[in-house]
Amino acid sequence: MEAQIQVLFLPFLACLILTGIHVYLGIHVISRKVIFVDIALAQIAALGATVAFLMGYDPRTEGAYWFSLGFAVLAAVVFSLTRTRHERVPQEAVIGITYATASAAAILLADISPHGAEHLHDLLAGSIVWVTPAQIAKTAILYSLLGLFHLIFRRRFLQISLHPEEAYAEGVNVRLWDFLFYLSFGVVITSSVQIAGVLLVFCYLVAPSIFAVMFFDDLRSRLLTGWAMGTLVSAVGLYFSYDRPSGPTIMVGFAVALLIGGMMRALLRSARPAQALAATGILVALLAGAAFAFERYRHPGGVPSGAADPDAGAQDVVAPAGAEPEHQVGEGVAALRDALRDTHANVRARAIAGLEKSGDPRVLHDLADALHDQDAGVREAAAQALGRMRNRSALPALKQSLANQDEDPWVRLRLAQSVAALGDLDGIPFLLEVAAKGEGALTRLEAINTLSRLAALDGPAIDDPAGEAAQVRLRALRAWWAAGRDRLRFDARTGTFRK
């Protein structure tokens, strides 16, 4: 919990700052009935950032900021110019078109760059969690200055928003004040978009103000309500967003809060308050339940914890047993080849025996593949079979497996035996290694006897790998190898190496 609070403290501060100025601006915007202008300006600022991105400026640098601001200022000019006294073309339409154009332009431009999509995503969803103290400080100072500016000239600003007719009548230069308004708007939005992303900015502008406007008529009450609601929802939203995207989570929080506000408003106006209260209570409980369920629906089968879950979504742990009975391995190379892909290692091993018996050289490739089987028994059988088939084209595969140092001592033994049996000198050093250090007395025994046969050394087969005779034989073999390794040649008729 503490770690959570620490991590989320900075974003919470950022949210507070955003709430402060956005609520005020939002109330203005709602009074002017041009809701769209927020998101249009935000999108235009985003378009500016995209252009900057294309020109090589990283989204968080100064360059990108000035680009955004420039675009926003331009938009501000356009909006202030298009507000006419007698609205023939409703300003909303203009703003809507501007928004659509800006979005389309951003998409097109982002398409040019290979990382454009991510960049767009970042702009939209924002990354309020990664806000730095420097950014917060900068934004706080800027917004305070702007707030001061609006405080000083509040009467004028309120007049042009709430009572434009009055303003026109008094001969006020509405266009100029409008421009100033949209300019401050643009500055705020640009800075906010950098921190919080387009959608969240729009939310902060609109949601708390709508909430406030639903209940109160005078500016002070609206401001206070909006600030309270914004702060509360930011806190709750951030709390729930510990390991989810914060922006969208806060937005959902706003939506829920608005819904609740709407219900409360309906309640307060209803004729049967107790009944309505009851209904609201049930609705709230159900919503909470639905929200919980919704969270679960997004993470089926696993609890999203703080730690990263590398297998999220994968159906990892195991399906029921493949309860196929072991089946007969059929005759015919085709059937044997199929059996090589059976789930049971026994069947695969038997298939290898069958393929070896078939003598068909085309099966060498299948046997070579079986050298990489997951089961050590199958690998061993494949290695043995390849050696017994006496076909030298198997050598490369065998030597490669040999070089890979299989973890099973018997597989290593068989590989070495087969390589040597096919006449390649590379098998001998491996056999010597197994003879000396192989795990399990039996492997050592077999290695010694195989080597003895290949070197055509005189003497009976060794019986006891730990005995004196085995040591003597090993020394003899080592000597034989050391002496003749450059000059040995394979005699296919006898199956031995001779000088």
């Binding site: 009935k33 387009v198 959608l199 729009f202 679960r296 493949g322 789930t343 997951q374 490369p396």
Partner: protein, 449 residues
């Protein structure tokens, strides 16, 4: 800012935000992805070519190195037990729900000569479906086909499987979690018929709700199973909550499971339920007799509450649990409701009526297939403070396998005078003998403990 404008603005805002949001989900294939796909296809082409070369080389007998497997292609090795062919090979009906069917053949006779209930009855057939809906929920559906009435849904509910905080939500039509016996289906009763108290308080159908039930497993440091269930819904039953106004009925049930050693458990439960009820039978009868059915409208929304307490002790020795067991279950019910009556001056008067009832049932098993049970019933009636009855029954259960059961029950019931009138009985007592045969087919799900 008028509400309509507000709504419009909100709608417009939604229209604006939706495409943005959905654009994120359905992002068109990234150029980068396409490049990667192209690279993969090229690698595949290379490998195919190399393989073809190798085959030719093998055919000629010369040596060609096997091509190294490119990193992007998966290795064709198999983990033991993983089927090669995708998809289940066992049966085509693999996604079908588990279906089972049960019926009860009941034969009974009354030694007091109340022949109206004599004879054999295929009293009820039930078809049950159970399956998981999706990773989040499972569903149970029980269709009941009573002997001479139209078929109905006895229970049909979905249960969530993935809610957090040890919660489970059930929605649909389900038997209310009132006490222990109320949730049982007729074929799962230990005896042939339900205890008189339950029949008197909830009618012949048990307390069934159409609604929602939220159950919470309360975490506690002792690691005990403590469950609280809250239900809200429209009750479908004929006695305690039978208001026509479709008012909501709520039920709250708290259960504690306490282990008593390795071999036994004790369960303690408390239930409270509240809702509304309409005029009683006797009031309607009186109004009819006085000819006042049109003029006087009895209240249809009288408050009614039923409370219950249950204690269950189950002993099943671990090693021999199929051969020996013992259980003792007791439930007590209390009803308080407002009742209207027609007073001699032809006015509707109201009063609060309280009544109580309960049962205690003891069952023992001494061999794999036989169980013996004894039950004592005591019951008042919710709409009357004077009617009362008590009963005692003994039941023998023969269970040849998990899928079949025969029951023989003898029941002695004694009514007091007013209760006898209610049942239209001449005598004040009755002895009945029951026989029941219950076969089950299909994949009947596991029963709760």
């Amino acid at each position: 800012m008028r509400p309509m404008g507000l709504a419009r603005a909100a709608a417009l805002a939604a229209a604006v935000m939706l495409p943005e949001a959905s654009a994120q989900d359905e992002a068109p294939p990234d150029r980068r992805e396409v490049e990667e796909l192209k690279a993969q296809v090229q690698a595949l082409r290379d490998q195919v070519q190399a393989l073809q070369q190798q085959i030719e080389a093998l055919a000629k007998g010369s040596v060609a190195p096997s091509p190294p497997a490119p990193e992007s292609l998966p290795q064709p090795t198999l983990a033991p037990g993983q089927p090669v062919a995708a998809g289940p090979t066992r049966s085509p009906g693999l996604m079908n729900p588990a279906i089972s069917g049960v019926f009860q053949l009941i034969g009974n006779t009354s030694l007091a000569g109340r022949d109206d209930l004599n004879g054999f009855d295929l009293s009820e057939a039930e078809v049950a479906f159970e399956s998981t809906v999706d990773p989040y929920a499972k569903m149970n559906l029980y269709l009941s086909f009573p002997a001479d009435e139209s078929p109905e849904v006895e229970e049909g509910y979905a249960t969530t499987l993935t809610l957090p905080a040890s919660l489970q939500l059930k929605g649909g039509r389900f038997k209310s979690a009132f006490g222990k016996w109320n949730t049982l289906h007729t074929h799962a009763f230990p005896t042939v018929e339900r205890p008189d108290a339950l029949a008197a308080f909830f009618g012949e159908e048990s307390l069934t709700n159409d609604g929602l039930s939220l159950s919470w497993l309360i975490p506690n440091p002792a690691g005990l199973y403590i469950d609280t269930t809250t239900e809200v819904g429209t009750a479908r039953e004929g006695v305690s909550f039978n208001s026509d106004s479709r008012a909501l009925t709520w039920t709250e049930h708290l259960a504690f499971f306490l282990p008593a050693g390795d071999n036994a458990t004790v369960e303690l439960g408390g239930t409270a339920s509240g809702g509304q009820t309409g005029p009683t039978e006797s009031l309607l009868g009186d109004l009819d007799a006085a000819g006042l059915t049109e003029t006087l409208e009895p209240d249809d929304r009288l408050p009614s509450n039923v409370y219950g307490l249950d204690v269950t002790w189950k002993w099943k020795p671990l090693q021999q649990n199929t051969y020996r067991s013992f259980s003792w279950q007791t439930e007590a019910l209390l009803s308080r409701r407002r009742v209207q009556a027609l007073d001699p001056g032809l006015f509707l008067t109201e009063s609060t009526v309280g009544s109580a009832g309960g049962y205690t049932y003891v069952e023992g098993q001494w061999t794999k297939r036989w169980k013996l049970g004894l039950r004592y019933d005591l019951s008042g009636f919710p709409d009357s403070e004077v009617d009362r009855l008590w009963g005692a029954s003994g039941v023998v259960r023969f269970i040849p396998s998990e899928f079949q059961e025969l029951r023989f029950q003898a029941k002695y019931t004694r009514f007091n005078e007013s209760a006898a009138l209610r049942f239209g009985a001449d005598d004040e007592d009755d002895t009945r003998l029951f026989f029941e045969w219950i076969p089950v087919i299909g994949a009947h799900g596991a029963h709760k403990y």
